[in-house]
Amino acid sequence: MSLLEARGIEKGFGGNPVLRGIDFSVRAGEIVGLLGENGAGKSTLMNILSGNLQPDRGTIAIAGREASLGSAAAGQALGIRFIHQELSLLPSLTVAENISVGRLPRGRLGLVDRGRMRRNARAALDTIGAMGIDPKRLAGSLRLGEQQLVEIARAVSHQPRLLIMDEPTSSLTAHEVDGFFAFVRRLAAQGTAIIFITHRLEEALSLCHRLVVLRNGALVADRPAEGTDRQTLIADMTGRASLFTYQPHADAPGERLLEVEAAGDGSDLAGIDLDLRSGEVVGLFGLVGAGRTELLELIFGARRLRTGRIEIGGRPARFASPADAVRRGLALVPEGRKVQGILPQHDIARNVAIANLGAFGRFGFVSSRRERAAADRYRQALGIRMTGPRQAITALSGGNQQKVLIGRALATGPRLLLLDEPTHGVDIGAKSDIYEIIRAEARSGRGILVASSETEEILTLCDRVAVMSKGRLVDMLDRGSMSEARMVELAFTGH
């Protein structure tokens, strides 16, 4: 019998249908992979199954009995835990407190029993393979990936019957992913049902028992993982068979755009040498914590250059702030779109236009019409799934928000485009679109620097790759010597 069975789920937002009659079930001990393009409705469906949202139509049965999930709390009471796509830790509380929050253990005098709380946290962290995280640390001081692990630990510590994870691995290192997968398998073996949303097809294929694909709000495929291959899944998701593959560019790279020499920020980064020509796509690969984000920030003026020098287009560049960098023709798509990317109270058009307002009017004025036109342009070019330029950006799915941010960077017409994990949370179809865009931009003469944790992405996209480890640039590989094995090996230099 199914642990959870949903029938005929329909849901719309403001008249736009998002889910169209979904039947979905999951059994105890089963790992179900949920796949689909950005905006296909995955998160929405899970929000409904966990009680966060109410369906317009349809029923949900838990262990054979019809349940009405009026709120997240109701779902939690029935043993359903949902780890959201967007992180929701409390940065000024400790890791231990974050894991227990909502039911902090009470000891003598009704005070919080810190010892017990820490032991619980330790146990939960160990279970999921995160031995390295100290429960006493403040959650705000953790890396993104570590924060994600803490969230998982929190959900697990509730010993849920059904655990739903929305892209849990998107900011984990390969190493962390391995530990995490081992844990997921153990958990399933103990009888917990697991729903796992991901855009990484290999992960889905290797971990899950069953794969469910949503497209445009409808369930289009439900098949056992055994015997399914990548190509089938891609076809299910996109309706297209072939996707982007690396195409070496014909012309030789152009003039030198960026030159970094012995650069450092006085703390983590030191002695970075790097150069980039127009028309080139250069990758930055490394383990989490290798300093890729820092390097991009250094080039972009968001971090102060303490040693060495940086030249842009042959002229020295010592930016005091990102504003200077933007003026000199740089643009950055940051990692962590919620915190550093979107303007949540602004509509899509304004989110697109904000980095280059000068281009949308004259004499300090801004034309809303031109902003909207730009949003429509990028909607076309990037395939953003949205109802219109005035739609709130927070109403978009995560991947579509990412596309808006890429649109924002492109709207500045940069000579040098810095991308930090540009396809984080982006579906495979859109990923392919984004790769096309990046290549096209390179062909038109821009230089592009892409930090990525996915070897596949680097191999698909880049002409060269710089591998970083512990704040140093270890080596630069060109197309001929680029391979997954070599990159990973270099990334572990000094570890």
């Binding site: 915190v339 602004h346 904000i354």
Partner: protein
């Protein structure tokens, strides 16, 4: 049609507008004098200085700041303007001097925030005290008489309409444009919405913030000399406690204290509502103690009216 209707009710200033209409309708029945053009214009004039200063404050609050110093800046600028006019004998100097002093105070606030990274609440609380102290030192505590153009702006009328009301309306129109259709305005909203993202998008945070505080200061300086002009006297205690009125007007008008959202017409409606209340008390002869109670109730209702239909969990 249905959409347009919803839209109207959804605008941020709907609630205060509703309250304003309610009070006005009530007054037009309760007092024969309320609808007299003269009285309505008085209300407009009484709202004008708070409204003007609240425009600058609104920008500050939208950018996630707060400017507690406006009341004292009103006093200091008025006094400085009046003293310079008296010493030089050139009455016309009072206006530019007041605006410049206000601007200087605003820049001081802005620099404390952007350079020394002092939280705006504390920085402007400090300035509140310092500016008031300087006003007292400059005057020795004595009011300075004031005449000339300042008096015209503060007390004059053009075709029966108070000049200060006209100024406020013109400024409000300018601010609607600034907030909605200029690069600077967009950047103010963006910074208030998400400072981190704004910085990475290439917005010069500190430069925008500095200008925001400078504008608030300058408007307070300008408002100060108009207020003093109205009274034909610049008192070092002028504007004492104004900050709460000004901030209340901004927030009544639907601007969010947590930044990124706000409405310029709402600010003016907020200022007018406060002036209307005071007018009502005088017209209806409400006793002082009940005035105090009523004011509190109306403030709560003005914002609470629409919350009854709003979604409960919306703003967690």
């Amino acid at each position: 049609m249905r959409r347009a209707h919803l839209r109207f009710l959804d605008v941020r200033e709907a609630s205060v507008a509703l309250m304003l209409v309610a009070v006005a309708v009530y007054l037009s029945f309760a007092s024969d004098y309320f609808l007299a053009p003269r009285n309505l214009l008085n209300v407009g004039r009484q709202a004008s200085v708070v409204g003007m200063v609240a425009l600058g404050q609104a920008l500050v609050i939208i950018a996630r700041g707060i400017d507690l110093s406006v009341g004292s800046v009103i006093g200091l600028s008025a006094v400085a303007g009046a003293i310079v006019a008296r010493e030089t004998g050139i009455d016309g100097l009072s206006l530019p001097v007041a605006a410049i002093v206000g601007l200087a105070c605003g820049l001081f606030n802005g620099l404390l925030y952007t350079k020394l990274r002092i939280n705006p609440f504390i920085a402007t609380l400090g300035t509140l005290s310092i500016a008031r102290g300087i006003a007292l030192l400059l005057t020795g505590g004595l009011p300075v008489p004031l005449a000339g153009p300042a008096e015209f702006l503060g007390a004059g009328r053009l075709g029966g309409i108070p000049v200060s009301l006209i100024i406020m309306l013109v400024l409000a129109a300018v601010f609607v444009v600034i907030a909605g259709s200029t690069r600077f305005g967009r950047e103010v909203f963006a910074i208030g919405d998400n400072p981190k993202a704004s910085r990475l998008a290439g917005i010069p945070l500190d430069w925008v913030r500095l200008r925001v505080f400078a504008i608030s200061g300058m408007l307070a300086g300008f408002g100060g000399i108009i207020l003093a002009g109205n009274l034909a006297s610049a008192d070092p205690n002028l504007g004492l406690g104004y900050e709460l009125d000004v901030i209340a007007a901004v927030i009544l008008g639907g601007t969010s204290l947590s930044g990124g959202r706000g409405s310029i017409p709402g600010v003016i409606l907020g200022a007018v509502l406060m002036a209307l209340l005071n007018n009502a008390f005088v017209l209806l002869g409400i006793s002082a103690y009940w005035q105090v109670v009523t004011k509190g109730v109306v403030i709560i209702l003005a914002v609470g009216l629409d919350s009854i239909r709003r979604d409960k969990s919306a703003d967690d």
